[in-house]
Symmetry: C2
């Protein structure tokens, strides 16, 4: 049995911060890990915008309540979970992600936590650990699993590098061009095929 590590935003659900930007008009929240590779720098940029605009967790939760997983994500995930042990490795926060987990049938999610003050303002965040996606793949390797990883962005690269097989899913051209060693697919059917192919090769 193999472990499949999946990114969350852009792979199974929409980009939450982009949706918040759409709702609030705060364009500074529109950038993602696809534009700013350094996650701490990206979060500093977001927290500064949040502070400038007095954004509360409850407003973000309200945006999230109107969102659903990407079309076809649940069916893909259900099929994957019949065949593999799945762990979602994300740089999002449990406070944002759990409503999506309910819609996705509560797959295992390893991510981070927000810090929220008494007035419900988002004041910071606690990264669970440094290099979290790579570390999680290492942890599964430590349990003697072979790992396939799929993601769409710079922060997925450590996970793809550490895994026994890596796959780009709907990643932008500039990222797939920079890292051509990983196959790149854009549909869930093709993603599942690539995962199955990788796992068959492990067995040989």
């Amino acid at each position: 049995m193999h472990v499949l590590c999946l990114d969350l935003e852009g792979v199974l659900i929409p980009e939450v911060w982009v949706a918040v930007a759409d709702r609030t008009g705060i364009d500074d929240l529109r950038v993602t890990t696809q534009e700013i590779p350094d996650y701490r720098e990206l979060m500093q940029h977001r927290l500064a915008a949040i502070s400038r605009h007095d954004l509360t967790l409850s407003l973000v939760e309200d945006v999230i309540a109107g969102l659903a997983p990407l079309a076809g994500a649940r069916a893909f995930l259900d099929a994957a979970r019949e065949r593999y042990q799945v762990a979602i490795l994300s740089d999002t926060f449990y406070e944002f992600a759990m409503p999506f987990m309910a819609q996705l049938g509560y797959p295992t999610l390893l991510c981070h936590r927000l810090e929220v003050d008494g007035e419900g303002r988002i004041t910071g965040y606690r990264l669970r650990q440094d290099d979290p996606k790579r570390s999680a793949v290492k942890a599964f390797h430590g349990m003697n699993y072979q790992v396939v990883a799929a993601g769409d962005s710079y922060n997925d690269l450590p996970m793809l590098e550490e895994a026994d097989a890596g796959i780009w899913f709907r990643a932008p051209d500039h990222i797939t061009r920079e890292h051509r060693q990983y196959p790149s697919v854009a549909s869930y059917d093709r993603l599942l095929e690539q995962i199955d192919t990788a796992c068959r090769q492990f067995r040989r």
Copy 2:
């Protein structure tokens, strides 16, 4: 967010080997980790019985097809997965366990694999790693999670010892008496209460 590690057989589903003993009349398959603490010794005992009686995987699968999770297990697990990241740590085999996982909504399961020959006879097994339950808790600790573990038998003891909080669930008296440091509960409601209490104490 905390990780909840749960044993499988006796905690969420019935003892598979005991069910096989009931169906086949092979009394040697009636012993479990509650009687033989050494798992390799127990599996040697089972494999010898399997060999003597020419037991096939398909017969075991047939027995399993007639089994369901324990009454209340799914509701408990659903409630737990809303609050915690859940990993089932079991010394069973994927070949036996996956039909139950379908009935339990595909929680993450970390267990072992059987070896089956060309005629479908169970000839051996591959332990994923030594001391698997303790190692899995260590892996979650390595990812900076605090861990609550619940089990019913000797092979759960390493998981309870390594976890930040351990709970006996429907464990026999001789085991809870030997290891009184862990609270012992017999209903899913009480189990969830104990888990919640443990996690609240972590936060202090």
